[in-house]
Amino acid sequence: MTVDLASIEKFLCDLATEKVGPIIKSKSGTQQDYDLKTGSRRVDIVTAVDKQVEKLIWESAKAQYPNFRFIGEESYVKGETVITNDPTFIIDPIDGTTNFVHDFPFSCTSLGLTINKEPVVGVIYDPHINLLISASKGNGVRVNKKEFDYKSKLASMGPLTLNKSVVALQPGSAREGKNFKTKMATYEKLLSCDYGFVHGFRNLGSSAMTMAYIAMGYLDSYWDGGCYSWDVCAGWCILKEVGGRVVGANPGEWDIGVDNRSYLAVRGTVNNETDEQTKYITDFWSCVDGQLKYD
């Protein structure tokens, strides 16, 4: 089966900007009567709009690509939904739901496609700041539909080293137990002048926007645990197209699947210096205090 990835990218871009974006923008900050999810995801908020938007994306995608599979945040069933080798849309209707509820202008839609479990198309659209970033395997990256010259950007950024980097960190919604402890201890080590001593950390509250920002050269890396495939699929494809790399959050996890649940995403380097990237990853891992584990 041959699949024209560029045309799928275009289809998803149009869907994001014409149909999904306007809903997200008009409803942001209007859903004050939200439910709080139960259990460890109690601060993770689900809104009716989330479900409505997922349905819209699913129906549009199905009409155009009837044979593709579909995995979405709202329709996901734990233990049942698995990623196969078939072409599969992996989507988050609204990434950054807490932002969406609070009207912090970094909620977005994140639309990805995997083939053979590899992210091959990625589209992220934030309607609040009107940023569309998209990519497909082998075709590079576009920002607001214009080709993105990532090589010049990387050349202007200088070498990738831990103590000169700005790192994205998000504590997520689970705020007790081992994973939360590991996260807090790791943040402290990354910041401390005795360990990582990074330039700074940033927290946008959206995994997809964070990965988009790494691809655009605004951030150097992103470390997180507890995310799902739909949070990272689109961003992963985009990041790979600009020389970035995604590995596991725990030391030694060099090869991981889209549904690994914990991730370290790192930007590309000038002239594709893989040694520099590898060193960055191992230096970063040396600040990880504990191990992130998710069922």
């Binding site: 202007s156 705020r175 330039h199 940033r202 050269g217 605004y218």
Partner: protein
């Protein structure tokens, strides 16, 4: 001398015009291009560029041309222990707030122009040219985002349902003497399920942007220690004009000076009693006392 509402509005217009015409384009065109040319300040994390200094002198000259009798305090010309905020009308200016963002090209650097009179913020304008967000206000005249009046949606303010801004800052020495451990412990208390269990925190890396986001209700609060008057002066005026409140970072600091160094900004859109309860509840999670 007490400036009238119209005089304050004129200063606000001077600020916004200067930011849109001259300073914004300068900041935007140079961001992310100065990675190699910074001087290291404390611990090499607080980075200051040559451009920072140039922009401050441009602002100073422009404002002195129009308001020759007003005093001027800027980040780059400040002298610790010598520079004092008096009762006179005083421009308090940060040419590039979020210098780390500026150097790395992260689109949250901005210029913060404030005016204080009798030691209180009375005019403020903050411009982020990357996202094209211009926040501005003057005392008694309301607060605006890109010329649209900011009206924070009325809703309850509760710590557990809040989204707050927290920053790592540049002071990173561990140990009981400094503020780093107190900050990290406070963050842990705020996030933890057995603690405040807030909805989340955000860090954009610019104090002025954080305060403006609180002013417009995109964030519920911002807690910080270690900033300076020029980081907060403009935002503070915008915050108050949008119904928000500025308190201190340490417990019971209901009234603080502009250069208090520790701040708790709280959004409007609720009763002042709710703001008070929020502050008290927030302070109960502050681990130790921040000192600068």
């Amino acid at each position: 001398m007490v400036l009238t509402m119209q005089e304050l509005k004129n200063v606000e217009n001077t600020f916004t015009e200067l930011l849109l015409r001259k300073i914004g384009p300068l900041v935007k065109s140079h961001t992310g291009t100065n990675f190699r040319s910074y001087d290291d300040k404390s611990n090499g994390v607080d980075l200051v560029t040559v451009l920072d200094k140039n922009i401050e002198s441009i602002i100073k000259a422009e404002l002195a041309g129009k308001y020759p009798n007003f005093k001027f305090i800027g980040e780059e010309s400040y002298v610790e222990g010598v520079t004092k905020i008096s009762n006179d009308p005083t421009f308090i200016v940060d040419p590039i707030d979020g210098t780390t963002n500026f150097i790395h090209g992260y689109p949250f650097s901005c210029t913060s122009l404030g005016l204080a009179e009798m030691g209180k913020p009375v005019v403020g304008a903050v411009f982020n040219p990357h996202l094209n967000q211009l926040f501005h206000a003057s005392k008694g005249n309301g607060a605006f985002l890109n010329n649209q009046e900011i009206e924070v949606t009325e809703r309850t303010l509760i710590l557990q349902k809040s989204l707050i801004a927290l920053e790592g800052g540049s002071e990173r020495t561990e140990g009981s003497q400094g503020n780093f451990d107190k900050k990290i412990d406070t963050y842990r208390n705020l996030l933890s399920e057995s603690g405040a269990f807030v909805h989340g925190f955000r860090s954009v890396g610019s104090a002025a942007m954080n305060i403006c986001y609180v002013a417009s209700g995109m964030l519920d609060a911002y807690w910080e220690g270690g900033c300076w008057a020029w980081d907060v002066c403009a935002g503070w005026c915008i915050l108050e004009e949008a119904g928000g409140r500025m308190a201190g970072g340490n417990p019971k600091e209901w009234v603080i000076p502009l250069d208090g160094r520790c701040y708790l900004a709280i959004r409007g859109g609720c009763e002042s009693m709710e703001q008070k309860q929020f502050a008290e509840s927030f302070w109960s999670y502050v681990a130790g006392r921040l000192e600068y």
